[in-house]
Each structure stands twice: as C-alpha cells, then as structure tokens.
Amino acid sequence: MSLEIDVDHTRGSFRISARFSAAPGLTALFGRSGSGKSTLVDIVGGLVKPDRGRVAVDGQVLVDTERNVFVPKHLRRIGYVFQDSRLFPHLSVRRNLLYGRWFNRQAAATSADLASVVDLLGIGHLLERRPASLSGGERQRVAIGRALLAHPQVLLMDEPLASLDEARRAEILPYIERLRDEAGLPILYVSHSVAEVARLATTVVILTEGKVTAVGPVADILSQADSGDGGSVLDAIVSRHDEAFELTVLTSRAGELQVPRLNAPVGGAVRAYIRGRDVMLSLKPPEEISALNVLAGRVVTVVPANSGGQAEVRLDCNGDGLTARLTAKSVQRLGLVPGLPVYAVIKSVSFERS
C-alpha cells in the first residue's frame, strides 16, 4: 500500500500546501502544533475537503479536485483514531467496538475479529462498561479497537497519546507497534513527540507551517537539524543483561551501549533515540569519566544552527549516523572539520523497544 497526497488548502489565514507519498508501514506526520498535521489527516479522512489536490490510498483515488472526485467519509474505509477518542457515550464498550460492523459489507467475517482485537488491545474486561467510566488509556485503546473493527484500509491516528500521561502512553505504545508489525495496516500517525516518532515511525514527514519540509526514513529525518531537537536513531540488538548493575548491553553498528535495565529479551531489537544535546565530543578517547557509553566516529558535517551560537555536528560511527549539538565555540576550539576522528560521549539515551 502507498499513500499519495498532493493538496492545497486554506483555512482562514492558514495555508497548507503538502505533497508527499509514503511507503508501507507507519508514516509519522511530525511538526509543531499548528503546523497543519491534523488538517492534513482530516483531509485524508474526508472530514475536510481540500481546495485543490489529490489523495490516493493504494492507487484508489479518494479526492481529486480536477476530476471532481470526493469520496464521502463513510465510504472511505478509513479507521480514524482521534486525539479525544470520541467514543459514543450512549453505547457500551462492546457496542462502540462493533459500531463500524453495522455498515461493513464483509460483516460476516468480523465476528472472530472482535475476539482478536479485544485480545490485542487487552480490553476484554471493559466490554460491558460505558465510556464515561473508563480511564483515558482505556478509552484510547477502545477507540483504536473500534477503528480496527471497521476493517479500514488505512488507519489514521491523530495524536492518540497526547491526552495521556507517561504511564498511559507506555501502556498503549506497544499496542501501536503490534498493529504496525502484526496487522500489516498502513498507518498515518500525527505526533509532535520526537520520542513517539522515533519509536514508531517507518517514514517521517515533517510539516512546518503547512509545508512539507522533509520526507524519508526515520533515521535519516530525525537526525536533521530542523526536525526539532536534532536527535539520532540507532537500531540495536539486546546482547545481554547485566543484572548486578541493573544494566542492559546493546550492540549496534556504532558499537556497544550500556543502558538502564530494559524489559526486553536477549536478541530482541530495540531502537535507541539519542538527543543532540546529550552527546559530547572528545578528540581523544576519554578516560576516567562517569559516562558509560563512548562511541568512536568521524565528523561528516558541521552545520551552524540558525541562532543561539549552536551547531549540529553529524558523525559517522561505523555506518550509523549520530548528531551532537554543541556550542559554536566548542566547534572552533576542537577544530571540528569533516573527516576528523572523534569520540562521542553519550550522556543519556531514551531506549525504545521496536
């Protein structure tokens, strides 16, 4: 499946002009609030009719203003998970989940699916309850289940975790990962959280003031300076657990990393996200320092930031990209130029299972 979008739309004084196509998997629409992410998802979902343009999912045209095509939302076969869940307050969880089935022509095939979706999302104990009595996390899981049971061709998720606290987020993230990996459903996912995007996305689309400023695989895009805090994504494998110090040792192409004990099996894949400001650079192998993780690499480019006397230094660590955010003064003092071998000291890492 692929998603093709090429639209222009004006809402008040705000103008969206977006054009991209996304590969299968989870496509993250990433940008600050007010950058037009939600409007773009509403256009794909059929809640907003664009002034001009074309939207196609898997070659099926949903909108084509030139040919006067606008498929109404109830015929689009999309599953839309809203930021505010939007469960029907007058229906039980079970009837919320089955709502889409009333309108689905392949309804016969779905009776078995209720069980599997309920199982996937862990909401079996909630079925007879009303939405008003659910917690935020439970509500969002039911909303995801309801969207899935409508048998969508594509899943739209508009900041599904934004209204939740950290604990609830951690509760739901694994389910979204399973959807991406097991259900094989293309997902368009809106977020302004780097950590979420780093953990979930296959492709990242960055929106800035209604315009697409970058599109590409997650590791390439998140390391770019304009994507927020200029972090890097490293794919790694759990090689062992060091129970004595409650650490987990990971292996990536860039080298070995030691992190606080992860709840992941040995051999499992994890995705580490390292923020640019958590990376220090040293010209010599640092000795007698507290940081556990030091990776060797070479400077690829030095990009001065637009303001604040900062610079992004991109490194190549044995094939893996790593970005450090330094002051311009440090860049000058160390004489950082492309090709120079350096040692990256990593102060902190957010390690996410993938």
């Binding site: 809640l47 505010d84 939007r86 307050p89 709502y99 309108f103 009303r130 309801r146 969207a147």
Partner: protein
C-alpha cells in the same frame, strides 16, 4: 362527570396525541436542518416555524381556514385526491394544535441537537455510517431528552389550544369540542360553573401527569447514558 365532559376529555387526548406524534417527524427534520445545516432561506424557515408563537391564535386559525378549508385550495386538493378532510373534523383540531405546538417542539429539539458533539457524528461517519445512520444511531439517541421535552411541550400546548382550533374547526360536540372549548361553552351558559370547574381540575391533572412522565423518562434515559 357527564358523558359530554368525558367525550371532550377523550377527544382532547386524541387530538393532542395525534398532533404531537404527527408533528414529531417534521419537527425532527426541521430542527436538524436548523441546527446543522446552512442554506439559503434558513432565516425565513426559522421565522415561519416561530410564527404561530407570535401571531394571535385566531389569526393562525383563520389562515388554516382559508388554506385547509373544504373549498380552499390545499383543502380541496387533499380532499379530492387523498380523501383527507380537515375542516370541522377532529383531524382539523389536531392540525391546528400541531401547528400551534410546532415552534415549541422544534425549539426544544433544535437546542438539544446543537448540544450533541459534532465530533461524535464525524467519528460515526469515518466508521462507515451514512448521514441518515449517523442521525439515527448517534444524534437521535443523544438528543432524546430534548425530543421528549419538546414532545411534552407540544402535547401540553395541544391540550390547551383554544383560539386557533375554535376558529378553524368550530366547537362541535363529539367532533371538535375539546376540553378548553367545552370549558368555554360552560362559562357561556347559566349554571355551567360546576362543569367548568371539574374540567379545569382534569386539565390540571393531565398537564401534571404529562410533565411528571416526561421528567421520569428523561431521567431514565440520562441515567442509562451515564451509567457505568
């Protein structure tokens, strides 16, 4: 109570029930249009719906007479083609009551539809429900307390309607003599005070029962929607 009084009470209940039930579908449709749609002439429609509320009832009754009377254009058409006759029949009383109660019905339903979150409706749309199904499965259940309140107002208004009814269909015992008409008749004849008083008590009782019933119904629906 005399048989004449019982007949008037039964007739009033029949007229009010018919008026309420028959105007309900139209009231729902127009309330939905006014609450959810923007179209040319919306202000005009809104005014038309509210007209019976501000016009003298006698004027409304007279307008009905010259529109739905046996020889009036619409009345003759309906009588010749569908056999529906309003003039000097209890159906005419129901029509007059329905039109007089219509503004109250539409107003209550419109307010409750406007209170239904449109985001829930668009969510239902993305799940495959066409606009009619969205209305039937999301909008209607959620605005039901308002629909009931509107229906009760319309019913109460119909029970008490006098001016438009008597102008349009007169005051024929057994056919168009409703409760208020009979009370009026009693006040016009010597020694009618006792009858008028009895009917006044009946009228108060029916109104209070209707109000009580609607309260209970609305509360039950409310409880069901909020229940865990």
């Amino acid at each position: 109570m005399t048989p004449e009084e019982w007949t008037a009470v039964r007739l009033s209940l029949l007229v009010a029930t018919t008026a309420t039930l028959a105007s309900l579908p139209f009231g729902l449709a127009i309330a939905w249009l006014l609450a959810r749609k923007d179209f040319w002439g919306k202000g005009l429609l809104d005014t038309l719906v509210h007209l019976p509320l501000i016009l003298p009832p006698v004027v409304t009754g007279y307008l009905l007479l010259i529109t739905f009377g046996r020889r009036a254009p619409v009345g003759a058409f309906l009588a010749d083609n569908f056999g529906i006759v309003f003039s000097f029949r209890w159906t005419g009383a129901a029509l007059a009551c329905g039109i007089m109660g219509f503004p109250l019905l539409v107003r209550a339903i419109r307010l409750s539809i406007e209170a239904v979150d449109t985001r829930l409706e668009s969510a239902a749309g993305t799940l495959g429900a066409n606009p009619l199904w969205v209305f039937a499965t999301v909008t209607l259940p959620l605005c039901l307390p308002g629909v009931i309140a509107g229906a009760i107002l319309c019913f109460a208004k119909s029970m008490g309607e006098f001016g438009a009814t008597i102008t349009f269909v007169s005051n024929i015992p057994g056919e168009t003599q409703t409760l208020p008409s009979l009370i009026y008749t009693f006040t016009q004849i010597p020694g009618g005070d006792a009858g008028a008083f009895r009917l006044t008590l009946v009228s108060i009782a029916i109104s209070m029962l209707a109000l009580l019933g609607s309260e209970l119904l609305a509360r039950r629906i409310g409880v069901r929607q909020m229940a865990a």
